[in-house]
């Protein structure tokens, strides 16, 4: 008890505990009381799959929109034995991923990896890796807008009521409008799901291609929204169903191409323009998966 209540000060490291001189922060930046508060929110979220638990989001040394919610969840789950992977749009080497990885290296000195299987904790923005997640992995999503009903109902008091009473009929209005306008459900990102047959949830702006990966996953999936101060979760082996109509079933769209680098036919591809003539190339958005496959 004494240990968890004791907020370790910078001074303590240097003088009393005799820890390395360059360790200027508490492990993983957040103080232990904050982590405890966030862990409580996470545990509650795991008990009620898909339910948005409010938490007191802290100022982080990075702007909102840079994954402050995800970073706080990661910081609260991280232990010294963890191996961390950070991805942004599937890649480990984009600015956002690199800066978050550096942040945790600096504040916790833990191991990092780009290899999905080797990671014990993965924080992501906009993708789920192609390599299936496994038992004992924690998968943290950065979430900009946690409320799937926000576009229908701006009042938070009312959306809370709609969730608690399962008043979800209007969610289908959006899908109805899509089909009427486009002949199919046009929503391609942040495609809403129903979790554990109960709460409708925004899976963050992942492509709908990734939606099926959330279903019945052996990993723990945690969602953190910093600005909106919400945490929600999918415990392992939980049913996650994408909303649809009986006669327009959910379709995790896949471009009719194979990856131009590794040849994979069943991965999510980024479309890139390769020359001035406008020629296109399709490559895996998951760089780790693509590299591994190419090198095989």
């Amino acid at each position: 008890m004494r240990k968890t209540n004791n907020v370790i000060k910078i001074k303590d490291f240097k003088v009393d505990k005799g820890l390395p001189f360059d360790q200027e922060y508490n492990f993983a930046y957040l103080d232990e009381n904050t982590k405890k508060m966030i862990r409580r929110a996470i545990i509650k979220a795991l008990c009620i799959p898909g339910y948005q638990v409010p938490f007191a989001s802290r100022e982080m040394p990075m702007p909102y929109g840079w994954g402050t919610g995800g970073v706080q969840v990661t910081a609260s789950c991280l232990t010294k034995r963890d191996t961390l992977k950070i991805i942004d749009q599937g890649a480990d080497d984009t600015t956002n991923a690199v800066s978050i990885r550096n942040f945790f290296k600096k504040t916790s000195n833990i191991k990092t990896t780009e290899i999905t299987e080797k990671a014990t904790l993965i924080q992501t923005r906009h993708r789920i890796p192609e390599t299936p997640l496994k038992k004992k992995q924690i998968f943290v999503y950065q979430v900009p807008i946690p409320e799937p009903l926000a576009f229908l109902e701006p009042k938070v008091s009312e959306t809370i009521k709609m969730h608690s009473l399962s008043e979800y009929g209007a969610m289908h209005v959006k899908l109805y409008e899509d089909i009427s306008k486009n002949g199919h459900i046009e929503t391609a990102y942040a495609y809403p799901v129903k979790t554990n047959d109960r709460y409708i949830m925004d899976p963050s702006p992942i492509p709908k291609f990734d939606n099926p990966k959330m279903n019945n996953s052996p990993a723990i999936q945690l969602f953190g929204a910093g600005r909106e101060q919400r945490i929600y979760a999918i415990p392992p082996y939980t049913k996650v169903k994408s909303l649809d109509f009986e006669d327009y079933p959910f379709d995790p769209f896949k471009a009719e191409h194979a990856c131009d680098i590794c040849g994979s036919k069943n991965t999510y591809l980024d479309e890139i323009i390769v020359d001035d003539a406008g020629n296109k190339s399709f490559i895996c958005s998951d760089t780790d998966f693509c590299n591994k496959r190419k090198n095989k």
């Binding site: 608690s164 009473l165 008043e167 009929g169 209007a170 289908h172 209005v173 109805y176 409008e177 089909i179 009427s180 306008k181 109509f245 009986e246 006669d247 327009y248």
Partner: protein
């Protein structure tokens, strides 16, 4: 013996110390149309809002009896109440903009009520929406248009379709033609009348226009200062009003 579909006993609602409505008792039988009249501020909207669940009364009892099932409207949980409102009641607002989503197509607006009671087949929702557009005399080619492109009369007919599509057991209407141009009032009124007859609807309609009540209502109540001062069959009340206030209303000396 026929059981009333709706039985109201001693219903009261005030706003701080302003009386909204006071000690209202009445009953409504299946297939009846009840008209509520009275000057502005007499409590008509307060009453209809209490009956339809938009407003929580201070005292009284509201019992709905539908398919041999009694619902003690003021003593059920909020989730039961909202479900009951969703499936058994409908509310047509004076201003159709209050009852429609303006950023959603006509078909989506009509279909929302179906989706909210569990319809999950796009084709079925669409064909029912088409059928109802037809019923309220909106060309079915407008099904994917946004309500903002509709005239006032069309908007009101759209709102009516949206409300009737799930066959609610009681339909509340608060001045349904009150906000419309005089030139289109007659058409909407005519539509309501033919739907009431065709579908044998049970309706509570508020209007300050006695012509509307004369045309639609089987029976009526007259309100003044929050209380009912006279009630009976519409023909009787309109032909032979007992209260001086009602006599003034009928002879149109009182401009309401």
């Amino acid at each position: 013996m026929i059981i009333p579909l709706l039985k109201v006993t001693n219903l009261s609602k005030s706003y701080d110390n302003i009386v909204g409505c006071k000690n209202i008792s009445m009953s409504l039988y299946p297939g009846e149309v009840l008209g509520i009249v009275g000057e502005s501020g007499s409590g008509k909207t307060t009453l209809i809002n209490c009956l339809s669940g938009n407003l929580e009364p201070d005292r009284g009892k509201i019992i709905f009896s539908i398919n041999n099932k009694e619902t003690d409207f003021l003593n059920i949980s909020e989730s039961e109440k909202r479900k009951f409102i969703r499936t058994d009641l409908a509310f047509v607002h004076q201003n159709p903009r209050d009852g429609l989503r303006l950023n959603v197509s006509a078909g989506g607006n009509i279909g929302e009520k179906l989706m909210s009671v569990g319809y999950r087949h796009y084709g079925n929702i669409r064909s029912l929406a088409t059928k109802w557009m037809n019923k309220v005399e909106i060309d079915k080619s407008r099904i994917d248009d946004l309500p903002i492109t509709f005239s006032g009369g069309m908007l009101q007919r759209l709102q009516i379709a949206k409300n009737l599509i799930t066959s609610p057991n009681v339909i509340f209407m608060d001045e349904p033609t009150g906000g419309l141009d005089v030139s289109v009032q007659a058409r909407v009124l005519d539509l309501i009348r033919s739907l009431v007859n065709e579908l044998n609807l049970t309706v509570i309609i508020v209007s300050h226009d006695l012509a509307v009540i004369r045309l639609l209502a089987d029976k009526m109540i007259v309100m003044k200062n929050g209380t009912v001062i006279e009630s009976g069959l519409s023909d009787q009340v309109l032909e032979d009003p007992q209260q001086e206030y009602t006599q003034l209303l009928v002879s149109s000396v009182l401009h309401v």
